[in-house]
Each structure stands twice: as structure tokens, then as C-alpha cells.
């Protein structure tokens, strides 16, 4: 019995490690069909369901996080959001989420853009790349597995160590008037 239990524990451990360490190279070609099903806030009917199977491939996956981080930098997200602290755009490492902290909501924010300056990345990035960025953005405020994140960049910048980050409790903050969808 004890052997059974320890076997189960070991298998679970292995599963966690395998998901964290998996390197998935070939993803679906980009298509934005998934995006339309994603509501922005809970006030809309239908809740925030996304295909769990899509997200779990990126959630807590170290490779996805590192690719997401690379994209965050090369796509110049830092130009507005800084390295999470915010600037022209809102901060990403705090607990304030204007358009929701759900992976699907963040995904939609990136793909469709938001009023007041957030550009739409539809057609500019592949679906898998957007999901990678989503995973990284969530990790910036401590959502998701810590061991999957990286401690620092090879750059001159100070952003929190993702392995030591305390998780923020996401709150849906007010939607700025200019950002209300027509």
C-alpha cells in the first residue's frame, strides 16, 4: 500500500516536472478563431471558459515562459509596460487587471488590442506565441508555477525574480471610461 502511494506521489512529481520541462516546438499555425469566444469581463454572459487543453500546454511550462519573455522584449512590449512596472501602459506585475487576469482574457487583450493604445497583434504573432506571452505576463505577477520562471534577464534591468515572486491576488479593477467597448 505504501509502495502504491509513493508510486502515485512519484508519478505526480514526474508529471509536474515533465510539464515544466517540456519543449514544444511545433504548434498550430496562427488563427484567431479561439479569440472570439473569450468574454472580457464576468459581467457578460457565458463566463470565461477557454479550451483548458490549449492553455495547459503553456501554463507552468518553463520553455513557454522563456519564449514568452523573449517575445515580450523583442516585440517591444516593454516600450509601454516597462518590464512589468508599467509606464505609458498599465503595470503588469501588480494585482490590478483592467481586462481580466484569465489566460483567455489576456490572450484576447493581446490579439485584439485595447483602447488607449494597446495595439492588436492579430496577424502579427502566431497563436502559440501569444499564449507564450500570456504565460509570461501572468508569471510577472506571480500567477503560475514559480520554478518554471527565470530569476533574471541578461540585461540591465530590475524586475522581480520570478522564482521568488509572491503571487498577487488578481482584482478586476475599474475600466477606464475611454476603454469601454462601444
Amino acid at each position: 500500500m505504501r509502495i502504491h502511494r509513493s508510486l502515485i506521489a512519484l508519478t505526480m512529481l514526474a508529471a509536474v516536472a515533465c510539464r515544466r520541462e517540456e519543449r514544444r516546438f511545433r504548434e498550430l499555425p496562427p488563427s484567431a478563431s479561439a479569440v472570439n469566444a473569450v468574454p472580457v469581463t464576468d459581467f457578460q454572459p457565458g463566463g470565461t471558459a477557454i479550451q483548458e487543453s490549449t492553455w495547459t500546454k503553456y501554463d507552468n511550462n518553463a520553455y513557454a515562459l522563456s519564449q514568452g519573455k523573449k517575445l515580450f522584449e523583442t516585440m517591444n512590449c516593454a516600450g509601454c509596460h516597462s518590464h512589468g512596472g508599467g509606464g505609458m501602459g498599465p503595470a503588469l506585475m501588480d494585482d490590478q487587471w483592467i481586462y481580466g487576469s484569465d489566460p483567455a482574457q489576456i490572450f484576447k487583450t493581446i490579439v485584439e488590442g485595447r483602447p488607449n493604445g494597446m495595439p492588436a497583434w492579430k496577424g502579427k504573432l502566431g497563436t502559440s506565441q501569444v499564449w507564450q506571452i500570456v504565460a509570461y505576463i501572468r508569471s510577472m505577477s506571480g500567477l503560475g508555477s514559480r520554478p518554471a520562471g527565470s530569476s533574471r534577464d541578461d540585461h540591465m534591468k530590475v524586475s522581480p525574480n520570478l522564482q521568488m515572486r509572491k503571487a498577487e491576488k488578481p482584482k478586476n479593477s475599474f475600466v477606464p471610461p475611454g476603454a469601454v467597448m462601444p
Binding site: 514526474a14 518553463a62 522563456s66 541578461d154 525574480n161
Partner: protein, 651 residues
């Protein structure tokens, strides 16, 4: 001064020991039985055998990884394994062979043999010895469990930053690698301290430093090299682990760190490490050549000086791994000179061995055959080593298959061949049985052919432009045929290893009984029965000449008067091995095992959170108190020797 003299043991007969003494000594030195006895043992032979067996298991794993890589590279554009798996395979192969096989097995042979060869009853600091083994076992196990969970090291055994740093190596793969370094460096430093303590303080009376067997000299030099080399990689891997876990900037060039710092720290250890593997192997060769040439080695003082010189110059070569990073001419010149002239001490030893064979009456049994193989293979690696010392040539050959060929010629020729010779030579001592000569010769010839077929074509491949650590190559490169040849050679090596395993298995159970001294060798380990009893020697022998057993006439002078009911050991002076103290040996205890478990848990947890260290160090108090708890029983430490017992004088 009373002199007790024992008759020289007849060949193939255990030394004459009073059965009553034997029983009492056994009880004194190995009091526990069963599982508890197994887990608490601090006997250097038990620990040494486990160490060797564990290393051989890792060797098997490392070999299998190499086999998969050769299968992948057998043809161009192969899809057997992808880049992700291949990177893990070669990183695991290199790390395993260096950190879990080559270095530890050389040291483990020393842990088993050195106390016997210097006539001691156990190793100095036996509990530390047990701790070292458990740490090594747990570290290697952690590394392979991680590999099975797809968390195998994938930045190479050298883990160059920034590739291995937090930005470019996602996940925990490199962290486990860095932690493996911590495990192995603890184990290696422990072993080095023990060997130094054993060699310098527990030699049999009369075994002055100039009578030390060459293998013991080699182990002593190696132990000092470990002590100077390991802190460098310990620092390096600590910095790396900190960069990756707590976001320090040691290797971050944009924040004042430097990517080359890692390379210096790593190679300041990494190059001496080659000699940490090679020098004990030189010791094997010297012992085997002496025994099978039936005469003392020619030029003993020169041999010793050569070992020490190699140990010193070995620290002056590391930059030749970094010539392509741009090294100033003047600086590179020094490293080129050191890398070139380190061939001299090795050359001198080769000349001495050949002279010994020439003057002696060589008997070509399997161990000596392996020494012959060592010369033929190693010299090829040696001359390519001199080539690589040259900056202009190195800039062409560096990081190509030429270097792969070179390093395998050096490490297999200079490490594996002597090691296998040593297995065949000392197996009777380990097990009490001789290994099969016929299978031994098969093993040798298959290995010899396999190594050359595998690695010789790689010289050509490297100069033809094939770089290292590539998971595949294009068909248009024209490297297919030579790669296929190399892969076939790898298959031959696998067969040769299978022959060795079969030989080991059969001989362990059915080999002919060896007796105390089957080879008529001269060193002290052959004085006691095979396998030796837990106390090694019923009576500590007195050494009267450099030729050890060969110098004794009909009688072996021994030390008498040491009590048999307490684990007493003689402590002798550093230079002349004059007895000064009798020292009560610590007995078996579970403390090292508990401590190793605790340290291992701390280090594994340390991959994920820095809190593992403060908590882990605090909890270390538990095994520490277990360890240091005062022993019950008689206390007769540090008595003046003269009053207690007497020495056998040379006849």
C-alpha cells in the same frame, strides 16, 4: 624490545592468524550485522567496493547515452532523437563520465587500496568516508531521476554561461546540473582529505615517504590536486546557481558580470580534473608494470617527481581551452608552453616503464596487456594534446571532432585502459577470485579495436569541419562514411564492455580461488588474505624496503602489542613513518547516512528555494550531534607508543 615474527604467508594461503585473534579483531572492527551493519559500515573496503560498483553503474548509463548519440550520428539528417534530447544526452554523457565515473572511480580505487597498501587497518576519518559515499550516491541518483523526468542537463558538461544562465536555459535542468557539481565536489573533497590523512599519518612503521608505492604517491598527488581544483568549480557553480535562483549578476555582462569568468573558474578546475583522472591511472600502470615485470620500477625518484610535477603543471594549462575567446599573445604563450611541456613528465614515466619491462621478465597477463594498450592509445592522445597546445592549430581544431578524438584517446587511453588493467589486477584482492584470462584478452582486444575504430576517424572529421555537440549534420557535408565507421566502433566497445560484465559475473562466482598473493606482487595489500578481513592486517607489518613484500626474507616483521578488543590504529610520523600514537578508531554509526540524507534533501530543495539552506543547515544539527555523541567504551587515546608495544626490527 620484543620482536614478534610471523612466517611469510605461503602463496595461495591466507596469512597465519590465530583464529581467536581473528574472531576478536573481526568483532572489534565490524561489530554489526545485517541491514543495520550494511547501512552503518565505515569500513573503507565496504565503502570502496560500493563506490566502485556505483561508479560502474553510472559508467553503464553514460555509455548507453553515448551509444544513442552514435546511433543518431551514424547517418546524416537522422531523426532518431531531436535536438532537445540530443543536447540532454551529450550533457548527461559528459557530466556522468567526468563527475560520476572517471574521477570518483579513480578516487574510489584509492579509498579501497590505499589503506591496504600503506598497511593501515582502516582509512583515516572512516565516518567521513561513509558520508562521502552516500552523498555521491544520492547526488548521482538525483541527477538521473531528474533526467528521467525530462530535466536532464542540456547545456553541456561545461555549462557555458550565458547559455546555461537564467535567460537562455529555461526550467530546472541546469540547476540540477549545478547541484550535481555540489554533490560531487563534497564527495571528492572528503575523499581527498581522507587519502591525505591516511597516507601521511597512518602508514605502517618503516614506510617512509621514499618507500611509498607509486600508486599511493599518485593518490596523494591527486588528493592535493582535488583540494586545489574543486574550490574553483565550487565557486563557479555556486555563482551559477545563485544567478539562476536568486538573480545575482556574476555572469551578466550588462550588469558588470562576465561570461568569461565562468570559463576561467570552470577550466581552472576542468583541466586539472583531467590529471585527477590520469595520475591515479599512472599509479595503476606503475604497480602493474612492477608486478608483471618481476622487478622494482626503474627510476623511482624520477617517477615520484614526475607525478608531482604533473600535478603542478596541470594547474597551468586551463587557458588552452579558451584560446578562441581571444587571449593576449604573451599570456597564451605561457599556457602553450605549459601545455607542451607537461608531456615531459609523462614521457619520462613512459621511458621508465619501458626500461622496467626491458630489465625485468615481463609476464603478459591481462593487466599488463591493458598497460600495453594504454601506451599505444594514450600516446596518440598525448601527441594530439601537444598539437592542441599550439594556439594557431587549436584555433582550427578547437570544438571540433578532432578534440573529441583527442580527449577520448587521452581519457580512454590514459584512464580506462589502466583502470581495466587495475580491475583485472586487483579483482582477486576484492573478491578472492581470479578473473578469466581468456575473457580478459577478448575484453582487451575488443576494447582496443573498438576505441581506435570509433575515435581515430574523428581526427579527420574534425579537420574536415565537423564541430562538436551537433545533433545532426547535412548530407552534403560528406561526413557520413566516417561517422558510420565511428558508430560501428562504438558497437565494438559495447560488445567489449559486455564481455567485461560477463567476465565479472562469472569470475565473481566461479573464478579460481586467488589466495593472498596470486601475482607475487610486492605491495602490502597482497600480504593479507583475499578478500581482506575487516581489520586488514592481523598484525601491522613493518616495512623494511621500498620493495615491500619482496624484501622480506622468510619472515615478516610486525608490530605487536596493539590490543585486539579496541579498534586501535597506529599513527606514524609524516616523513619517516615512525610510530607516535595509537589512536582509537571510530566505530560504525548511522550518523553519516542520516547526514547524507539530510544534506541531499537540502541540496535538492535548494534547486527550488534558497530557504532550503538556512533551514537545512539548522537541521544539520541533528546528524551532527549523532555523529559527535561521545562513544562509550574504553578510552586510551594518544598514549605514548614506546610504553605500549614494540616494533619488529628488520631482520
Amino acid at each position: 624490545m620484543s620482536v614478534t615474527v610471523l612466517p611469510v604467508p605461503e602463496q595461495d594461503l591466507p596469512p597465519a592468524v590465530d583464529p581467536e585473534d581473528h574472531r576478536r579483531l573481526w568483532r572489534t572492527w565490524e561489530p554489526y550485522k545485517g541491514f543495520y551493519g550494511w547501512i552503518t559500515s565505515v569500513n573503507h573496503k565496504t565503502v570502496g567496493k560500493r563506490y566502485i560498483a556505483t561508479c560502474l553503474v553510472w559508467f553503464l548509463f553514460g555509455g548507453l547515452e553515448a551509444g544513442v548519440m552514435r546511433a543518431q550520428l551514424a547517418r546524416p539528417e537522422s531523426h532518431l532523437v531531436g535536438p532537445d534530447k540530443y543536447n540532454q544526452l551529450f550533457s548527461m554523457h559528459g557530466s556522468t563520465m567526468m563527475f560520476l565515473f572517471a574521477v570518483p572511480i579513480m578516487i574510489a580505487m584509492g579509498l579501497y587500496l590505499v589503506p591496504l597498501m600503506v598497511g593501515a587497518r582502516n582509512i583515516a576519518y572512516p565516518r567521513l568516508n561513509a558520508l562521502g559515499y552516500w552523498i555521491f550516491l544520492f547526488g548521482g541518483s538525483m541527477f538521473y531521476i531528474a533526467f528521467l523526468m525530462n530535466t536532464g542537463a542540456d547545456a553541456g558538461w561545461f555549462a557555458y554561461v550565458p547559455l546555461s544562465g537564467p535567460e537562455y536555459s529555461a526550467g530546472k535542468r541546469v540547476d540540477f546540473w549545478a547541484q550535481l557539481i555540489t554533490f560531487t565536489e563534497i564527495a571528492a573533497l572528503i575523499a581527498a582529505v581522507e587519502i591525505i590523512g591516511t597516507v601521511l599519518k597512518t602508514r605502517a612503521p618503516g614506510m617512509s615517504l621514499n618507500r611509498l608505492p607509486l600508486f599511493v604517491w599518485a593518490q596523494l598527488v591527486t588528493a592535493f590536486m582535488v583540494i586545489f581544483a574543486m574550490p574553483s568549480v565550487a565557486t563557479g557553480s555556486l555563482f551559477l546557481a545563485m544567478d539562476r535562483l536568486v538573480a545575482t549578476h556574476f555572469y551578466n555582462p550588462s550588469n558588470g558580470g562576465d561570461a568569461l569568468l565562468w570559463q576561467h573558474l570552470f577550466w581552472f578546475f576542468g583541466h586539472p580534473e583531467v590529471y585527477i583522472i590520469f595520475i591515479p591511472a599512472l599509479g595503476f600502470v606503475s604497480q602493474i608494470v612492477t608486478t608483471f615485470s618481476r622487478r622494482p620500477i626503474v627510476g623511482y625518484p624520477v617517477m615520484v617527481l614526475a607525478l608531482i610535477t604533473t600535478g603542478f603543471i596541470g594547474f597551468g594549462l586551463w587557458v588552452h581551452h579558451m584560446f578562441a575567446t581571444t587571449v593576449p599573445q604573451m599570456g597564451a604563450g605561457f599556457f602553450t608552453a605549459a601545455s607542451t611541456f607537461i608531456a615531459v613528465p609523462t614521457g619520462v614515466q613512459i621511458f621508465c616503464w619501458i626500461a622496467t619491462i626491458w630489465l625485468g621478465r615481463p609476464v603478459w597477463r591481462t593487466p599488463l596487456l591493458f598497460v600495453g594498450g594504454f601506451l599505444a592509445v594514450f600516446v596518440i592522445g598525448g601527441v594530439t594534446g601537444v598539437m592542441l597546445a599550439s594556439v594557431p592549430f587549436d584555433l582550427q581544431a578547437h570544438d571540433t571532432y578532432f578534440v573529441v578524438a583527442h580527449l577520448h584517446y587521452v581519457l580512454l587511453g590514459g584512464g580506462l585502459f589502466p583502470l581495466f588493467g587495475a580491475f583485472y589486477y586487483w579483482f582477486p584482492k576484492f573478491s578472492g577470485r581470479l578473473m578469466s584470462e581468456r575473457l580478459g584478452k577478448w575484453n582487451f582486444w575488443l576494447l582496443f579495436i573498438g576505441v581506435n575504430v570509433t575515435f581515430f576517424p574523428m581526427h579527420q572529421l574534425g579537420l574536415d569541419g565537423m564541430t562538436r555537440r551537433v545533433y545532426t549534420y547535412l548530407e552534403s557535408s560528406g561526413w557520413g562514411a566516417l561517422n558510420l565507421t565511428a558508430s560501428i566502433g562504438a558497437l565494438i566497445i559495447v560488445i567489449s564492455m559486455a564481455v567485461f560484465v560477463v567476465n565479472l559475473w562469472i569470475s565473481w562466482r566461479h573464478g579460481p580461488l586467488a589466495g593472498a598473493n596470486p601475482w607475487n606482487a610486492d605491495t602490502l595489500e597482497w600480504l593479507t588474505s583475499s578478500p581482506p578481513p575487516p581489520y586488514n592486517f592481523a598484525d601491522t607489518p613493518v616495512v623494511i624496503s621500498r620493495s615491500g613484500l619482496w624484501a622480506y626474507g622468510d619472515e615478516v616483521p610486525v608490530v605487536t602489542g596493539l590490543p585486539t578488543h579496541i579498534p586501535f590504529e597506529l599513527v606514524t610520523t609524516v616523513m619517516d613513518a615512525e610510530p607516535v600514537l595509537q589512536h582509537e578508531h571510530p566505530g560504525p554509526t548511522i550518523a553519516p547516512f542520516v547526514m547524507a540524507v539530510e544534506v541531499s534533501l537540502m541540496l535538492v530543495a535548494g534547486v527550488f528555494t534558497p530557504w532550503a539552506y538556512p533551514i537545512g543547515f539548522a537541521l544539520l544539527a541533528i546528524p551532527w550531534f549523532m555523529w559527535a555523541w561521545p562513544r562509550s567504551g574504553t578510552k586510551e587515546h594518544a598514549e605514548n607508543v614506546d610504553a605500549e608495544y614494540s616494533l619488529g626490527a628488520p631482520a
